[in-house]
């Protein structure tokens, strides 16, 4: 039963969701006056999202609780993580949430700037990585470098100042647009179709019970 019930549930839910998309009257089907069947399904998904969040909270607490208990390397960061995790959750739940100045200040003055800083550091890493790794060793790498330069210049005003969009071939910007719209779009389509077929096969395997690793454990 431990094995069969999740497999049957997975199959039924996949089939149901598929049918909702395939059969329009089913999507609009009302189980009673003004109550749609799909809205009930949708709320069950929302409930699962919330439960997933709760499970994540428990899991993080267990993992980092163990790290603290056994004084593993960098355990002090686990203490900090749990303080931030529970502190922010408590502040949001019991001290006004979005109406709380402290709650909003933490988001505006800590979370957003930290997020931006992490992303901004990419500029430095990319500069350093491009300098160290972008070496012309053969014709292919030369071609890649030329294309990279055109796309970079086509994206910024400096490229426009050197070879403007009103001049021959539309300047760097015109060539960049052509590169993105024709060769790039063609390859993106090929990649997209490949990814979709792979994902479709993986979902089909899960729905039909051929893929069981998501259930955890090792006895199947």
């Amino acid at each position: 039963m431990k094995r069969e019930v999740p497999l049957v549930l997975t199959f039924l839910m996949t089939l149901l969701r598929f049918l909702f998309e395939m059969i329009n009257p089913l999507l609009n089907y009302e189980i009673s006056e003004g109550v749609m069947l799909f809205s009930r399904i949708s709320f069950s998904v929302t409930f699962m999202y919330c439960m997933g969040l709760f499970m994540g909270l428990i899991n993080l607490t267990r993992v980092h609780g163990n790290t603290i208990k056994r004084r593993r390397e960098h355990w002090i960061y686990s203490v900090w993580l749990l303080i931030v995790l529970y502190g922010y959750a408590i502040l949001g739940l019991f001290f006004g949430g979005l109406e709380s100045e402290a709650f909003n200040w933490i988001y505006d003055a800590v979370i957003v700037p930290l997020d931006s800083t992490m992303f901004s550091m990419l500029a430095f890493f990319i500069a350093s990585a491009a300098y160290r790794a972008f070496k012309v060793r053969n014709v292919e790498s030369l071609l890649m470098m030329v294309v990279a330069f055109i796309v970079m210049l086509g994206n910024v005003s400096l490229g426009n100042a050197i070879w403007g969009s009103e001049s021959w071939l539309g300047g760097f910007s015109g060539i960049k647009d052509w590169l993105l719209a024709i060769p790039n779009a063609a390859s993106q389509r090929a990649i997209g179709i490949g990814v979709f077929l792979g994902a479709y096969a993986a979902i089909l395997r899960v729905a039909l019970g051929l893929e069981k690793r998501y259930l955890g454990g090792t006895d199947w």
């Binding site: 998904v45 109406e99 430095f124 972008f134 910024v156 993105l180 719209a181 790039n184």
Partner: protein, 280 residues
């Protein structure tokens, strides 16, 4: 010529310092390089808002967080300004909970500026921020059937939809109420939600620059109608509105940053080539 061979071993600290200077100086003292407007990507978004009538409703989606604020924040603000100038009503949702409040803060900032300029931009009447709702794509499908129920009848601030005049016109998110939408996307969940579940709607996209190549095939295929591409997209939109802002100011910094990267690649290759000749 000996120094030329050392060009492929520049101390990384110099790389970082010069990059920092290249980015900071143009922000403090803009150079004012000309910006050309992309007819394939930016113009369709601008023309879309121009073609709407005052009172029409459009939906916007904030699917980004602080990491992409530099590019998508100015896009969102310029687009929102355009909508308000044209009298177009805006309803915002958010697929990313981490960006929900950020999106609201950006719009609130623009709304205050607009009101100071005498352009009507009243919350609840001209725009509503429904915000993030958990439930993924299934909930987005549910929004099409009953937007109020899907959003638990409240906006991000906890206001009841029944107290917001604009929401009286938006019980369902179908083609009759709002057939046009724009998503400001920095990843997943993002554009896929709309190309999959809203294929008949007119979808416009504001993307971070790194995602633009991946979105070009959907633009070419007509799945999306227009695309604001990274910071240049935001700067172009600001220029179209004749209201140069943050994006235009940052474009010079981006130019200098790109120039430094290209110079580094060229210097690295000179050093590599000369070093290789010597080794041979």
């Amino acid at each position: 010529m000996e120094w030329l061979k050392r060009l492929d071993s520049i101390d990384p600290r110099w790389v970082y310092v010069i990059m920092a200077l290249s980015l900071v100086f143009p922000v403090l003292k803009p150079i004012g390089l000309a910006i050309s407007i992309n007819k394939e990507t930016t113009i369709p978004v601008y023309n879309w808002i121009e073609s709407l009538q005052p009172g029409d409703i459009v939906v916007g989606d904030v699917s980004f967080s602080g990491g992409s604020e530099g590019e998508l924040g100015p896009q969102l603000q310029a687009w929102f300004r355009h909508c308000m100038q044209r009298g177009v009503k805006v309803i915002m949702v958010a697929q990313w909970n981490t960006g929900e409040r950020l999106g609201y803060t950006l719009l609130e900032e623009t709304a205050e500026q607009l009101q100071e300029e005498g352009i009507p931009c009243e919350y609840g009447v001209d725009w509503v921020y429904a915000g993030y709702k958990p439930g993924g794509t299934t909930l987005w499908r549910q929004m099409q059937l009953d937007f109020w129920e899907a959003c638990a009848e409240t906006d991000m601030l906890g206001n009841s939809f029944s107290d917001l005049p604009l929401m009286q016109r938006f019980k369902k998110w179908d083609k009759a109420t709002a057939s046009d939408l724009i998503i400001f996307s920095a990843g997943d969940p993002g554009v896929g939600t709309y190309t999959t579940y809203f294929p008949d709607y007119n979808i416009y996209v504001g993307n971070v620059a790194v995602q633009v190549p991946g979105a070009m095939n959907t633009l070419r295929a007509g799945q999306i109608k227009g695309l604001l591409a990274g910071l240049p997209g935001a700067a172009e939109y600001e220029l179209l509105l004749d209201k140069a802002g943050k994006a235009v100011k940052l474009m010079d910094a981006q130019s200098m940053g790109h120039a430094w990267i290209m110079l580094l690649v060229i210097l690295g290759n000179i050093g590599f080539y000369l070093g290789a000749k010597e080794r041979d």
